[in-house]
Symmetry: C2
Subunit: 193 residues, 2 copies
DNA sequence: CCAGTCGCTTTACATCCTGTATAGTGAGTC
DNA sequence: GACTCACTATACAGGATGTAAAGCGACTGG
């Protein structure tokens, strides 16, 4: 049949439209102006439709975050780094991470910000960041030669140094992700010894 | 006259009470529950009184931030570090900074978080953090021997590494400010060469 | 081709929070 | 002893989050 799945496609399209509208508003507007109604208007959809799809404003944020992890596409990073030396793997991971932080910076800023004020958003975010911790644990094990600190402390430091809040705190340097990556890489290497 | 200034004292007391109530609620409650009414109730004051004193919810946040910089008491830090060597000065500044981040961690988290979502809060916060930039500029100039990076990049890195978001991202390590300070100090030194 | 499903719309409503206005009270002031 | 003024009590407007109910209409499966 020629019309197979057209309904599902339409639903996915509205969902996409709502998420895109939310992304744009989050990135450009103040949190104060980020209302469900504003998102609905921009997506050319009714406010009720947003609630049908995401149940609540938080659900909408969760949707945006889920979409964000898809965009990150960090899954392949694990296989990409297998054939590299530890140092090269570190540089690549840091570079990719910085590029991602940079590309979604406007969106990540309010998202991470909200996590500091809303435990539910925080739990969603840390859950989606869990893979980063595992990734870095592997990396630290490979890199470590004579660490100046506890193994656990080194990992904590690496996680912090490669986190988005730190990247965003780099100020003007964060506008140049390649240059920022060099500095972050240096910091990571200084921790692993 | 024995009753001189009793009125002014009473006003200051209510103001203190409101700020204390706001501090406690910010540190313990979700942002969602941080309402002007909740603050007023905890301060045993009417909601209208809060508006009389602080004009708006943002004004209240500004008041909390102003109170916070008083508590920081970093003014003396500049004179304290004059007689020290560059390395010792760095260690002291980092240690004091980490201690402050730690002592007010619960309060700073939502405050910095909101700054990521609200430009007005952000401008207040960066304004109150300006002295940190100047302080660190001095320090970097004293420390720098053969920096692996641009002078400006080194400064950006030092500011980021000693910032609250980075400290908070240290996770469990942030529960031990002295130990965290050692790690942060190491990071700063690795940037200045 | 036709009856059924279901996402979307419209409308209405309850609830909560911010911010403002107003009149009154009572302690501190001169 | 009259005055000032911070605080209270109360009421109101505006806007945001969520929920409920009924109708429309395109896609679906037979």
């Amino acid at each position: 049949m020629s019309t197979a799945g057209r309904r599902a496609a339409a639903i996915a399209a509205t969902r996409r439209g709502i998420i895109d509208a939310a992304r744009e508003l989050l990135a450009t507007q103040q949190w104060q102006r980020f209302t469900v109604e504003a998102v609905a208007n921009r997506a050319e959809v009714t406010r009720v439709t947003v609630y049908n799809q995401f149940h609540s404003k938080r659900g909408l944020l969760d949707g945006v975050l889920a979409d964000l992890t898809d965009r990150a596409g960090m899954d392949q990073l694990l296989t990409d780094t297998q054939d590299l030396s530890a140092g090269e793997a570190c540089a690549l991971i840091v570079r990719r991470t910085c590029l991602f932080w940079h590309s979604e910076r406007q969106l990540l800023r309010p998202l991470f910000g909200l996590a500091g004020a809303d435990l539910e958003v925080a739990s969603i975010l840390t859950q989606r960041e869990e893979w980063r911790g595992n990734q870095l644990r592997h990396l630290v094990r490979r890199l470590t030669t004579e660490p100046p600190f506890d193994q656990a402390d080194v990992l904590a430091g690496v996680i912090a140094v490669t986190s988005f809040p730190t990247y965003d705190a780099l100020g003007p340097l964060a506008d140049d992700p390649a240059r920022a990556a060099l500095l972050v890489n240096h910091l990571v290497r200084s921790l692993t010894g």
